[in-house]
């Protein structure tokens, strides 16, 4: 089936199989940041934005993106680097395999709630599993990033 979507700011027209999963489509289109960690929608590694909202690309048929806009970390390099540096300063990026999904979801959180409490952060990111870091370092990184943003007087953290 022919679909048209906007992928990371560029129009894409593609002929996709009806059972094609978005994660596979994206990786086939060079978006290698999108990772698969499970087959049961449990890990959050495959998180991407569909019309600006985080979704699990492993659980979404590609045809559902027809006429919509999809963003992966490849399309959010500036935000990823700015926020990611705070994770890296904690050494919390570790193996890095879960990072793209977590960072996508964190960016989504910053947009929805620029001033979250620790509890809100943990709840928002509960679906992003990480086997390396024990999560504390990620939390420290997020806190440090939010503090930095506050000190610069920026409230809306990531403008689209």
């Amino acid at each position: 089936m022919m679909i048209k979507l906007n992928l990371n700011g560029k129009p894409v027209t593609a002929d996709v199989a009806e059972d094609s999963l978005l994660i596979d489509f994206l990786r086939d289109h060079g978006c290698y940041s999108v990772k698969r960690g499970c087959e049961t929608s449990n890990c959050g590694l495959c998180t991407v934005f569909l019309d600006g909202k985080p979704v699990l690309s492993c659980s979404l048929l590609t045809v559902r993106t027809d006429g919509k806009s999809v963003q992966t970390l490849e399309g959010l390099q500036e935000e990823a680097a700015e926020f990611g540096a705070f994770i890296a300063r904690q050494g919390a990026e570790q193996c890095g395999f879960c990072n793209p999904g977590m960072i996508m979801n964190a960016i989504a959180m910053f947009r929805e709630n620029p001033d979250p409490t620790d509890e809100e952060i943990m709840e928002y990111l509960a679906g992003n599993l990480c086997r390396c870091s024990g999560y504390e370092g990620q939390l420290r990184g997020i806190r440090a990033f939010l503090d930095y943003k506050k000190s610069k007087g920026e409230t809306s953290v990531c403008n689209m």
Binding site: R27, Y32, S33, K35, G37, C38, E39, T40, N42, C43, L45, T72, L73, E74, Q77, A80, A81, F83, G84, A85, I87, A88, R89, Q90, G91, A92, E93, Q94, C95, G96, F97, C98, N99, P100, I103, M122, E123, L125, A126, G127, N128, L129, C130, R131, C132, S133, G134, Y135, E136, G137, Q138, L139
Partner: protein, 760 residues
């Protein structure tokens, strides 16, 4: 120090956080054949007939291999130094399948869809055999997991395939029975731990292709490039000269990738078809057919006096290696050596074990490597002893724990040359507020808050066996390349080893480029396991850099017209103290590339006769709901002595991560089989690794000792950190309820049922 012991950012950090394509499947050639495995639905069966003709006719199917197509020499998939203690009990494909999930056929095709279809229509007729599913009955069971004559054990580990034994041994000192009978009390316990999965986020995966010279190139997510080269050579029956193994970034390992779980399949496909191929395990395959922790039953007896003096410890471990023996003979040893040795001045100890084959998934190496299971058992028994003595378990430990300078008879008679365990214990106690909180407080709403404690030790490499090497060379502009064979799997060793090099060479960290790891280019390294990299490979880096400094000084002096003894190198230039003449490192580097006879490159190897243990204390505070049995972790404190932390940030995050993984093992991660031997916990739906809502708050501090034999005083950190949660949490539950949970995981159900039984 400028770089060592500094919290510098990992060299690959920005690539990782911005999602660059640096993992195996991001780098695999686009035209790879897709390789998948047809797996046995039976726990024990002989393949009577296998029909692949219909499957072969599916468009896109390139090859299907069965047991008839593969070499008949047995080998092991364990990544260990040759001769491996693990028995040679595998074939690439075997007519005899030994667990649910054992490979039956390899299918390779151009698309995943074609391969999936082929898997469905291959017809296999099995002669189903009686399986051995209870590891208690495996030894001397009439059903043999490995009846074949070609089974072979290379090392004297007490293995006997005609008895379902993968290993057995016994060691003791002192007269255990008489010391125990002379004790005021003897506390006993039997503990059961499950075959937990490492569950690294990146599943097992490998791609293969032939290079210009027709050599088999293997790009794999592995911790053990050099061992993989030997394993593939053994499996395929081809010379090692035909094989090159390299690794990209690895999405977590935790020991899982110290076994060549998936490499042999695409290697065989590419070798046969000459076409590139790749295999990517699904999460389900990673759960049911991989290399988890050895399930163990550990029996402990501890003899003590009424004043708290511990006099003797007896440990017997029964370990389940499953269908194949990877790491079976070696993991078990740590269950005794790294638990008994926490206690000093014992008059006697005994440690015996059996490692048995069963028709379940084979086990492997998982962070902690047997010490985790043994420490759960011994530390819980020590906590029971304290309860029986009505003594504070922290005081009991203060009285008995190993101290710096102690000889440790049960740890190969090595001396605790560096040990801050005492400081770790007192700091942890302060952090959690032990004296106010022990043992428990009733919150008055059906909830109880309580605390628990445990200690832990591990090693730093395998004494006298592990080898780490480093090559360091000077390039144009005075920059260096550090080449290593150790595997950074997220641990950050590319960075920490560069920190060591920058410290030794008085240069900036940016001036060190790290290359790892490739069997064609890296100097030999056993691999990153057994907590060896910081200590063993770190030592090699120090040696290599010191030698290179000498060579640079020599070259500089030569250029200045002095002898090396009159010259010095400060990292930027070689100068003569007496005259003030100098030549810059850049000039030396440039001059080394014209008319030069002496390479400004050094390779050094390192090994250690000892394995200095890192130590740790973990304390936890929980809130337990007596109605439902559910537990919330309120606070977990971990205080670690890893010697000098090469990078305090990374040491801290390793510790937090290890504690979280240990909490998973203690509370959530269960392994259950159906009566027919099928593993039920085959996805993240059924195998619950902790999310950030499940681990409470983790607080970590480092209490460093200084290990003379380590690079800048460093010991290891990677494994010691996973061992405390199970015993500490069991202890906290006991302090809240009086119930001792001896089988992991500690589920709400076990607590609620236990409390009910108590009442009746």
């Amino acid at each position: 120090m400028q770089y060592v012991n500094q919290p510098v950012m990992k060299k690959d950090a920005m690539a990782l956080v911005t999602g660059q394509p640096v993992f195996m499947d991001d780098l695999a050639p686009a035209d790879c054949l897709i390789v998948k495995l047809l797996r046995s639905p039976h726990a024990n069966a002989m393949i009577e007939e296998i029909r692949t003709d219909a499957a072969m006719r599916i468009p896109g199917i390139e090859a299907i291999y069965t047991w008839k197509d593969v070499p008949q020499q047995r080998f092991t998939l364990a990544g260990q130094t040759y001769p491996e203690p693990s028995p040679y009990d595998r074939l690439i494909l075997d007519r005899h399948v030994r667990f649910v999930g054992d490979p039956v056929a390899i299918v390779a095709g151009t698309t995943e869809k074609a391969v999936d279809r082929a898997l469905k229509i291959i017809k296999v007729k099995y002669q189903v055999l009686e399986p051995v599913l209870d590891f208690h009955t495996a030894k001397d069971n009439p059903v043999l997991v490995h009846p074949e004559e070609s089974w072979k054990s290379l090392c004297p580990v007490g293995a006997d395939n005609k008895r379902n034994l993968c290993a057995a041994d016994f060691s003791e000192e002192g007269d255990l029975d008489s010391v125990l009978s002379d004790c005021d009390l003897v506390v006993e316990g039997t503990y059961h731990t499950k075959a937990n999965q490492q569950a690294m986020m990146e599943t097992f995966r490998t791609c293969c292709y032939l290079d210009t010279y027709g050599r088999l190139n293997i790009l794999s997510s592995t911790q053990i490039i050099f061992h993989v080269r030997r394993i593939v050579s053994n499996a395929l029956g081809i010379p090692k000269s035909k094989i090159r193994v390299s690794k990209p970034r690895i999405g977590g390992g935790f020991g899982a990738k110290q076994t060549a779980v998936c490499e042999i399949y695409p290697a065989f496909v590419t070798w046969m078809t000459k076409k590139p191929s790749k295999i990517i395990f699904s999460r389900e395959e990673s759960q049911i057919a991989s290399s988890p922790r050895h399930e163990m039953e550990v029996k402990v007896r501890i003899g003590a006096m009424n004043d708290g003096k511990i006099r003797a410890i007896d440990v017997y471990t029964l370990s389940n290696t499953g269908a194949y023996g990877e790491h079976g003979p070696t993991t078990v040893g740590l269950s005794g050596h790294k638990s008994i040795s926490l206690y000093r001045n014992l008059e006697a100890y005994r440690f015996a074990y059996d490692v048995v084959y069963t028709n379940e998934m084979s086990a492997g190496a998982y962070r902690g490597y047997g010490a985790t299971q043994g420490l759960f058992a011994v530390e819980t028994t020590v906590n029971k002893l304290a309860a029986r003595l009505h003594m504070d378990p922290v005081k009991l430990r203060e009285q008995n724990m190993v101290r710096e300078g102690d000889e440790m008879p049960s740890y190969y008679h090595e001396t605790a040359t560096s040990c801050a365990l005492d400081r770790c214990l007192s700091r942890a106690k302060e952090m959690i507020g032990w004296d106010e909180k022990f043992p428990c407080r009733d919150m008055g709403n059906g909830k109880v808050r309580s605390v628990g404690v445990a200690m832990s030790m591990q090693g730093s490499g395998i004494s006298g066996v592990d080898v780490g090497s480093a090559t360091i060379k000077l390039n144009d502009d005075g920059i260096y390349t550090l080449m290593i064979g150790a595997a950074d799997m997220g641990t950050g060793c590319d960075t920490t080893l560069a920190q060591v090099a920058a410290e030794c060479l008085d240069c900036s960290l940016d001036d060190i480029t790290v290359f790892s790891a490739d069997t064609d280019l890296s100097p030999y390294d056993s691999g990153s396991y057994a907590s060896s990299t910081a200590y063993i490979t770190g030592g090699a880096v120090v040696k290599a850099c010191e030698k290179l400094r000498e060579k640079i000084t020599q070259k500089g002096a030569e250029l200045l017209g002095y002898s090396a003894s009159d010259a010095e190198f400060d990292g930027k230039e070689v100068f003569c103290n007496a005259t003030g003449a100098s030549v810059s490192l850049t000039d030396i580097a440039i001059r080394s590339m014209a008319g030069n006879h002496e390479a400004l490159q050094v390779t050094e190897a390192n090994s250690s006769p000892t394995s200095p243990p890192p130590f740790m204390v973990g304390m936890v505070e929980i809130e337990l709901d007596k109605e439902t049995g559910s537990i919330d972790i309120l606070d977990y404190v971990g205080v670690v002595d890893c010697g000098t932390p090469l990078n305090p940030n990374l040491a801290r995050v390793q510790t937090e991560g290890g504690i979280a993984q240990g909490i998973g093992m203690a509370l959530y991660e269960d392994i259950q089989y159906t009566p027919k031997g099928q593993l039920m916990n085959n996805s993240f739906m059924q195998y619950k690794i902790p999310s950030r809502m499940d681990v409470g708050r983790i607080r970590v501090e480092l209490e460093s000792s200084y290990e003379q034999s380590g690079p800048f005083g460093a010991k290891s950190i990677g494994e010691v950190v996973i061992n405390t949660p199970s015993p500490a949490l069991v202890h906290a539950v006991a302090n809240a309820t009086g119930l001792w949970i001896d089988e992991l995981p500690i589920t709400a159900e076990k607590i609620a049922m236990g409390l009910l039984e108590h009442e009746n």
